[in-house]
Amino acid sequence: MPAKDGNGASQASETGTWKVKTGLAQMLKGGVIMDVVTPEHAKIAEEAGACAVMALERVPADIRADGGVARMSDPEVISRIIDTVTIPVMAKCRIGHLVEAQVLEALGVDYIDESEVLTPADEEHHVNKHPFKVPFVCGCRNLGEALRRIGEGAAMMRTKGEAGTGNIVEAVRHMRAVWDGIRRLQTMPEEELMAEAKELGAPLELVRETRSLGRLPVVNYAAGGVATPADAALMMQLGADGVFIGSGIFKSEDPAPRAHAVVQAVTHFQDPKIIAEVSRGLGEPMRGLELSQIPEEELLAKRGW
């Protein structure tokens, strides 16, 4: 399809390709994507050095506290955030809610997060993401889940973690599980891959590709529970390509300096002296939740199939 740009892009140019979808995620590597609920938040995030923002109605900690059905944000809020910042804007749709996804694409968001943080619209199927021009990011807890989402067309992955808790333990569990799955593939003889694909519930072709790349075929961010610069650097050292931070910024005592510090810590994730320096005097982080205090049925990471 020709690009509509009036800047001389040729008839032969093609939009919405897998390359440009996965490519934008590659441009976000080594960066921090922050949840924002207002244009003012978005401005603070951009000013602090976020490489993108996630526009949503309530941060996960509030969704958790408020209960009820969590849906796609008001298009009005999303549009205002798009108009406020020049960095990419992402927004969330419910799992399987293809019309929310269509609406977000029509609004011009740069990435859609088909997210377990919102209440699922379909308890068996995710959105078929291939036909969309806008790329999707999805959550995963392990390699099989990641490859199923990529098979459906997700051009970027993230760990699920446990959003809105300020507790990094689940994100660590999920990131380690993804890498364990990849290392397992790499030690396996060719003839065992089919059974492994069956076991993982993942397409064989993607299993093969992951094995030969030695990593997921798309960018994989960490998400769900990041609250401090050290949390962010931890996820980078565990092999994340970048970090989503949700409630961790705007539920802390002083969001702007914390946002800035998390950005520095992701860039210098291998340098403890710098992480120490940027972590000084940031005020109270978000309060945080012990996972065992959360009733089983309220765990967000269990959503997604």
Binding site: E14, L28, K29, T267
Partner: protein, 211 residues
């Protein structure tokens, strides 16, 4: 040959992987001292607003400028091109302002308008270059010191060169065709060797020459 890739944010790993395949000694640059012995520096794709802030925070702007003025080769892809331009519309922070071009951020639209296209690059011969443009900047002006290097079929300039400085509005690091990386290594090879510059600057400050 030692090539640094600015690793503050963006797709620096992709550049390092191409450079390594071409036999260059590629390293990540996050702090000023990591610039010291480089023959060339690549500023990768990423978010130009983020990278501009980190360049200022980690005091990299003037050392990169100084090394480039001494003759170090520098190549900016996409965000990197925005940072190298003398004039950049839509960038709210200071860039490196090394190249006599003007760029406009996000001029082709949002992500749904990101595209792939074939380019003509006369310097590389008749075979077109397949290019990936992601929320790409537009090169809106080429000043007297710079010259166009690649164009879209409609004629728009999407890569330019000024002596040992190079910009591409697209991402050669995302495709298999390594001709731009090869071209950059040639520019870096032709720039004055880092060791000579170092010796000269040590001599100038009265420091002892290495044995």
């Amino acid at each position: 040959m030692k090539i640094g890739v600015l690793a503050l944010q963006g797709d620096f790993e992709e550049h390092i992987s191409v450079l390594t395949k071409l036999g260059a000694d590629a390293s990540e640059v996050r702090l000023p001292e990591q610039l010291d012995d480089l023959d060339g520096l690549i500023i990768p794709g990423g978010e130009s607003t983020t990278i501009a802030r980190l360049l200022a925070r980690w005091q990299l702007l003037s050392p990169i400028r100084r090394r480039a003025l001494e003759g170090m080769a520098v190549w900016g892809t996409c965000a990197g091109a925005i940072l190298l331009a003398e004039r950049a519309t839509g960038l709210d922070r200071e860039g490196l302002r090394l190249m006599d071009i003007a760029v406009e951020r996000n001029a082709y639209g949002r992500q749904v308008d990101s595209f792939e296209a074939e380019l003509s690059v006369p310097a590389f011969g008749s075979r077109p270059f397949h290019a990936v443009f992601i929320r790409a900047p537009r090169i809106s002006e080429i000043g007297a010191k710079a010259k166009p290097l690649a164009r879209l079929a409609g004629g728009a300039v999407v890569a330019a060169q000024q002596d040992q400085l190079l910009v591409t509005a697209f991402h050669p690091e995302l495709t298999e065709d390594a001709r731009f990386h090869q071209h950059f290594l040639e520019l870096a090879a032709a720039s004055p060797p880092a060791t000579i510059r170092e010796t000269e600057s040590q001599a100038a400050t009265g420091a002892r020459r290495p044995a």
